[in-house]
């Protein structure tokens, strides 16, 4: 079965420092991976995706993610965190078993950026 794991419930980082939010995946076949962010009382917002090509994917709001096939990871990164980045982050993988595009989400990681 397709799945993703987010091993950290919460990540704390000081403003201006680099941040990493971890995600590992388990898929059969080629992985299609996504990162979404959820702010309080708002829907999920798409950040970036990896389908094929360069292992470093750049997305919205200065975020990027590194696809690592040997480690089956797709960690989200940002060189310099902002207080406004504080939110809930979800990693997701496309479930290709049926040929359709439903997403399987991780349990989420709460990012807290302190001033």
């Amino acid at each position: 079965a397709q799945s993703v794991a987010q091993p950290e419930d919460q990540v704390n980082v000081a403003e201006g420092n680099p941040l990493t939010v971890k995600c590992t995946y388990s898929v059969s076949g080629n992985p299609y991976l996504f990162w979404y962010v959820q702010y309080p009382n708002r829907g999920l917002q798409f950040l970036l995706k990896y389908i094929t090509g360069d292992n470093l994917v750049k997305g919205s709001y200065g975020f990027e993610a590194e696809f690592n096939k040997s480690q089956t990871s797709f960690h989200l990164k940002k060189p310099s965190a902002l207080v406004s980045d504080s939110a809930l982050y979800f990693c997701a993988v496309r479930d290709i078993r049926t040929g359709f595009q439903k997403l399987v989400f991780g349990t989420g990681t709460r990012l807290l950026v302190s001033p």
Partner: protein, 116 residues
């Protein structure tokens, strides 16, 4: 442009009652998805529409749950005989679709359902 909209934003109902949740997708998006997000969890897939037909309803928990999309645009998720365990945020998403291509899904703000 307009994003995915969902109504109502909040719904409180009594156990055993019937509820309908509405989703209006982004114009031109032929694919529509419903997910359910319980407290402290990631969204879980319920059902996927391609056009008017339900292409994959494998995530619906039981036959109390049903969804329609009669004209290929607006969708309604229907829950009969609601139970307290149905309390969650119900998320709708839409996307473009094409064979062999993974387009991102755009999510609405969700409907928070509370069954008392």
């Amino acid at each position: 442009g307009a994003g995915v909209s969902q109504t109502p934003s909040n719904k409180v109902t009594e156990k055993g009652k019937y509820v309908e949740l509405r989703c209006d997708p982004i114009s031109g998006h032929t694919a529509l998805y419903w997910y359910r997000q319980s407290l402290g969890q990631g969204p879980e897939f319920l059902i996927y529409f391609q056009g008017t037909g339900a292409a994959d309803d494998s995530g619906l928990p039981n036959d109390r749950f049903f969804a329609v999309r009669p004209e290929g645009s607006v969708s309604t998720l229907k829950i009969q005989r609601t139970e307290r365990g149905d309390s969650a945020v119900y998320l709708c998403a839409s996307s473009l679709t094409a064979a062999g291509v993974s387009y991102e899904q755009y999510f609405g703000p969700g409907t928070r359902l509370t069954v008392t």
